[in-house]
């Protein structure tokens, strides 16, 4: 059994397996990131999404649900930014500077980690920023600072200033990892695992109570017409 998700791709509705969705979403995020700086960004990504919608409806032929395999097949046809190869000659300067950002030298950004937080995720975000593996040390530091007084204000200021991670790409930027299809797929998978873990924690919490309440989990899938955001 597999969970399914309804999506709007290029203005067309599709029903898609959960794992296939994670893969597709990761792919589209790389495509969007790749073309973000190109002139006609919306049109290019719109064209690509419509074409993918067409390839999916071609592939489905009576079947109802898009599988991971068909997502992989369609991505093979469209290609990843790595397959797009060298940039056209007169675009190469811009594209080169973009690819150096992409390859390894991704600047770290200070985010609050939405996936690993006790209060606002400031300590875990800061740990990721400074490359400290376990946020426990900074949490202890903040705790000491709280007790001594001035820490609360500092924490609140950081909380307000730092944006919270909202997407897989944000989480990669937080750790300073390059934003590419493999990394995004990895991060999305981690996030889905995280949801599973929190769900099972939740059920454990309700064990022992007479009547477990049904929790509705918002996975945060949001769509606007014609594109997956």
């Amino acid at each position: 059994m597999n969970k399914i998700i309804n999506v709007n791709l290029g203005g067309y509705p599709f029903t898609i397996d959960e794992d296939a969705y994670a893969h597709l979403n990761g792919y589209l995020e790389t495509i969007h990131a790749h073309f973000k700086k190109s002139e006609g960004y919306e049109e290019i990504t719109g064209d690509i999404e419509s074409r993918m919608a067409e390839l999916f409806s071609d592939k489905l032929k009576g079947a109802k649900i898009i599988s991971l395999q068909s997502v992989k097949d369609v991505i093979k046809v469209m290609g990843t930014p790595e397959d797009f190869g060298a940039a056209p000659i007169h675009e190469s300067i811009e594209a080169d500077s973009y690819s150096t950002i992409q390859k390894g030298k991704t600047a770290k950004r200070f985010f609050r980690d939405s996936e690993d937080k006790i209060l606002g995720g400031v300590a875990s975000g800061m740990s990721a920023y400074f490359g400290i593996k376990d946020p426990l040390w900074l949490r202890l530091g903040f705790l000491i600072a709280f007790i001594s007084g001035f820490g609360i204000l500092l924490y609140i200021v950081l909380w307000v200033l730092a944006p919270e991670t909202a997407s897989a790409a944000d989480r990669l930027a937080m750790r300073g990892e390059p934003i590419n299809i493999n990394n995004i797929a990895k991060t999305v998978e981690e996030e889905i695992d995280g949801v599973g873990e929190r769900l099972s924690n939740l059920t454990h919490k309700f064990d022992g109570k007479k009547k477990p309440r049904r929790e509705r989990v918002n996975l945060g899938y949001s769509y606007r017409k014609g594109s997956i955001s």
Partner: protein, 113 residues
């Protein structure tokens, strides 16, 4: 220096000429264009074509009409504008002189290698 990169640059340089020629022959939908480019091994993945078409369109060399399709979303059919035809003619001129220049400068090497 990577040979693959140089090869890709060579192909990219003539891609615009080839795309414009395909569209000049008949009004085309991106996947027709891709089919022909794939046959000639000029591009391998479809994602390469869309940014190029958008750029040629924004430069005023192409324009498109929407046409309904039997399955899936409506399709864009591209045509050359007047400027597009002029642009293509010039490219063809440049291409012919390039072919001659390359033949002239490489013929000794090519026969020896």
């Amino acid at each position: 220096m990577k040979i693959e990169n140089t090869k890709a640059q060579m192909r990219k340089g003539i891609l615009e000429l080839c795309i414009l020629s395909i569209i000049a022959e008949q009004e085309s939908y991106p996947s027709d264009i891709i089919g022909k480019l794939k046959e000639s091994e000029l591009i391998v993945v479809e994602g390469t074509l869309y940014p190029l078409l958008t750029r040629l369109k924004n430069a005023g060399l192409l324009h498109y009409n929407w046409k309904e399709s039997h399955k899936g979303p409506p399709r864009k059919y591209y045509q050359l504008t007047k400027e597009g035809h002029q642009f293509l003619n010039e490219l063809i001129g440049t291409w012919s002189s390039l072919v001659k220049a390359v033949e002239l400068t490489t013929k000794n090497v090519i026969s020896n290698e």
